[in-house]
Structures are given as structure tokens and as C-alpha cells.
């Protein structure tokens, strides 16, 4: 087996497979490694994907990867007195089947020319003068050592590979949400993503119901890392107290961590790139990371191939990925991080008031990042929030 590659990608999730595909298309020899025997499993995701991403990422969903089509979302106030429906062409999307979707992406990477190996665990990063230049892995009871010019760490929230390579990517409890989700049958739902805000039901997070076709749905909750208790307790309580789930049967349990703070301070080092949830490239408001990972993976793959083929893989040259990403994606995320940090200071009373005073358009504006007119409107009715909300203007 070949053991000398231009680019090695660890983690065949959406970000890693995109990186591997793009690096292979760029002419580099690529190895894509994953620990699991079956890509996509265990699922650690709400599985929602906005349809605008398909165009932006040049992505085609196979019919089997689509569980349900979504027309928009509905947000509920803590007192459940108000539901805001947001339905427009931009809120269309899909709830996908990650087990099919992830495998499809790895297949794309394989077709583009990348070598793919599964059930292979990277347990160490080989370094030369402090620069990562390969990985040690265990595959089918055998040791495998492969060298590379660029190592792309795309191993998800646990982010072990980047840390073994010397980058500090440990998630902090404050800037991380922890989620648990049951896939349930006998849950009636429309083609809308349902979001419930309530400090009682989900402190510093929210409860979600993502329809997965017919009477199946992903019902989940995410809570802030510093909140009391564990996510599963909140989810069990929400389901128990809700008449709607009395006949519901759980057919799968999914969970994981969701970095909702800033992206890593450094996305590249000499010979190393970090992509996706491993780099904390996650939307701080809704906690979605799939599309962002693919976007970043695409950029990283292109740059990695170019640099590897030119033989210049120091931090300075790989930095092109980081600068492109920071220019194109980061400002949007930082804006939303500001909103998250404001929302986490509000209590249920504040939320109820905000929902009461805002119409559907205002909420849509908030989501799109146009805070000023909305904040002004809220302050007129609830001036005591001035101190908290001023951070948004």
C-alpha cells in the first residue's frame, strides 16, 4: 500500500470528505482516513441543511439522502403563546440522512482520486522539527504509518488530531453546547423545523423538532456547558411533559458537543490545517456545522493541494485557507456570536416580551443579522433591556 501522500485528511465527515475531494481534484495524492467502520454513524447531528447551500457548495443530494423536505421554521416563545413562522424561499431546506449523505461525500472523494480507508484509527501524529508530517494509525490489527506534506484535521468536536499535532483546540464548557436527540416515530409534524426557546426546558440552548418524513422526527435539546444537569435529563423532561409525544417511540439516540463560541484562533500551522467542527466552525445561534464544514473543507482542500504540489507547506503558505475563510465566513459568524451572547443573558420573561412585540418580519431580520431596527423596537417597549441589547448595536 502507498504510504507517501501529498495530503492526509483525518475524519471523513462532510468537511473531511470535501477537503479530500478538492485536494484530489487539485492534483494532489490524497489519503482520507476514518475511525469508523460505517461513515455517518453514529449520527451526532440534527441533520438539517438549508437548500441554498446546495448551490453554494455545488452539491447534489441523492434521493436516498433526503429524509424530508422543509419549507421553513417555526419558533415558539417560552410561554407557548406565540409562534413565529418563517417561510420563504431562503428558509427551504432538507432534513437529510447523515448515514447516506456522509457516505455519498466519501464516495465523491474516492471518485475524485483520493484513497479512502475506514475502520482505521489515527493514534498519533508524526512530527519532524515540530511540523506534522504524517500519521500513525491502527488498521485491522496492523500498524500503518503514512507520511504527508499537509495534514488536514477534520475529526469533529473531539478534535484529537489537531491537539496531537500541537494545536490547542480543546472546547471550553462556556463556549460549548451539549446536545442529545432522539429519533422518534409517531410524532405528528408539518414540513417545518420547530424551535422552542425556554430557559427551563433548555438553558442557553433550545429544543428542536426536525421532521424526518411522515411521522418520524428528530427531537433534541442542546444546553450550555455551564448549566446545571445533563442534556438527556432536559430532553426526557420535555418529552414527558408534552402530550404530543405520548405514543412516540425512540428508534435512535444521537448526541454530541456543539462548539458555539469563536472559531479557533489559528486554523493553520506548519503542515497542518483544521477544518469544520474540529476548528469550531459552527454557527453560534443554531449550532449547525455541516455546511460550514463543507465550505471550509473545500477551501482547505484546494489550498492544501496547491501548496503540497509547490512544495511550500509552511504556515505562511497554508495561511491562504485561513485568510480566505476569515474574510468570507468569519464576520457572519462573529455577528451571530454577538447575538448569542446577548440572548443567553435574557430570561424567559424577556423572551416572552420580545416575541410579543416582534412580528414575523422582525424575527426574520434578527436571523439575517439586521439587528438595529429590531432592537430599537424592543427597547421602546422594554427599556430595562438597554444594557444587554446595546451590545447588538
Amino acid at each position: 500500500m502507498k504510504t507517501d501522500y501529498d495530503v492526509i485528511v483525518v475524519g471523513a465527515g462532510p468537511g473531511g470528505s470535501f477537503a479530500a475531494k478538492n485536494a484530489a481534484k487539485g492534483g494532489a495524492s490524497v489519503l482520507l482516513i476514518d475511525r469508523r467502520k460505517e461513515l455517518g454513524a453514529p449520527v451526532r447531528c440534527g441533520e438539517g441543511l438549508g437548500s441554498h447551500w446546495l448551490k453554494e457548495l455545488g452539491l447534489k443530494l441523492s434521493p436516498k439522502a433526503i429524509s424530508a423536505e422543509i419549507s421553513g421554521s417555526v419558533l415558539y416563545s417560552p410561554d407557548m403563546k406565540r409562534a413565529v413562522k418563517i417561510q420563504n424561499p431562503e428558509t427551504k431546506g432538507y432534513v437529510i440522512d447523515r448515514k447516506v449523505f456522509d457516505k455519498d461525500l466519501a464516495i465523491d472523494a474516492g471518485r475524485a482520486g483520493a484513497d479512502v480507508i475506514v475502520k482505521t484509527e489515527v493514534y498519533d501524529v508524526i512530527k519532524k522539527d515540530g511540523k506534522p508530517c504524517g500519521v500513525k494509525a491502527c488498521s485491522m490489527g496492523e500498524r500503518l504509518e503514512a507520511t504527508c506534506k499537509v495534514l488536514i484535521a477534520a475529526d469533529g468536536g473531539e478534535s484529537t488530531v489537531a491537539r496531537m499535532a500541537g494545536m490547542n483546540s480543546t472546547a471550553t464548557l462556556y463556549d460549548t453546547d451539549f446536545g442529545i436527540e432522539y429519533e422518534m416515530v409517531n410524532v405528528e409534524c408539518e414540513d417545518l423545523i420547530e424551535i422552542y426557546f425556554s430557559r427551563n426546558a433548555a438553558p442557553r440552548g433550545y429544543v428542536w423538532v426536525f421532521p424526518k418524513g411522515k411521522d418520524v422526527a428528530n427531537v433534541g435539546v442542546g444546553i450550555g456547558g455551564l448549566e446545571k444537569g445533563n442534556a438527556v435529563e432536559y430532553l426526557d423532561k420535555f418529552i414527558k411533559n408534552n402530550e404530543r409525544f405520548k405514543d412516540a417511540q425512540t428508534v435512535a439516540i444521537k448526541g454530541g458537543l456543539i462548539p458555539v463560541g469563536e472559531p479557533l484562533k489559528e486554523l493553520v500551522a506548519d503542515g497542518l490545517m483544521v477544518v469544520g467542527t474540529a476548528a469550531h466552525q459552527v454557527d453560534p445561534i443554531h449550532g449547525g456545522g455541516m455546511a460550514l464544514a463543507m465550505e471550509a473543507g473545500g477551501m482547505a482542500g484546494e489550498v492544501a493541494a496547491k501548496c503540497a504540489l509547490e512544495g511550500k507547506t509552511d504556515r505562511k503558505h497554508l495561511f491562504e485557507y485561513e485568510s480566505r475563510w476569515r474574510k468570507r465566513v468569519e464576520p457572519k459568524l462573529m455577528r451571530r456570536l454577538r447575538l448569542r451572547k446577548v440572548l443567553e443573558k435574557l430570561d424567559d420573561g424577556d423572551f416572552n416580551a420580545i416575541f410579543k412585540y416582534l412580528n414575523d418580519n422582525d424575527i426574520d431580520r434578527l436571523i439575517k443579522g439586521d439587528y438595529k431596527p429590531v432592537v430599537e423596537k424592543v427597547l421602546l417597549k422594554r427599556p430595562q433591556l438597554l444594557k444587554v441589547l446595546s451590545a447588538l448595536i
Partner: protein
Amino acid sequence: MWSTMSGNVNFLLIHAYNSRTEGVSLIEIDRSRCIYCGACVGVCPKLALILKETFVEYTQEKCINCGNCAKACPMKAITMRK
């Protein structure tokens, strides 16, 4: 000795290692609750926890007893020993 081996290459010894350190490990992972999501691994500042395909491997020598993993675990599968 066992720990350094299992922490690195000798995956076959993991079970033996776990049973040998029973009683001195600072955390307890309830495998009947664990869904191997890796949340504990992501917040472990010392890489004392490593995600395997169907379980989490714990190396007591690296553990600093910070409790992050127990707070993080969405399934409430981890408890601190004291």
C-alpha cells in the same frame, strides 16, 4: 506500563487495562449509557479521554480530575469518583 501501551498502539489490551485500573480511576464511565459521541473527549484538556469506535478510552495517568467530562456528557454517563 499497561497504560502507556494501551494509550498508544496495543488496542487489544484495552479491556485488560481497564479492569486493572478499576478502583484507582478518577472517573467512572457507564458504558450502558455511553453513546460514544465524543463530547467528553472534546472538553478534556489533557487528552485523557480518546474516542474509540464504540467506547471512550480513559487514561488515568493523564487525568487531572477537572470534571469537565462529567459536566459535558449529554447522556449523563460519566460520574466523578469522589
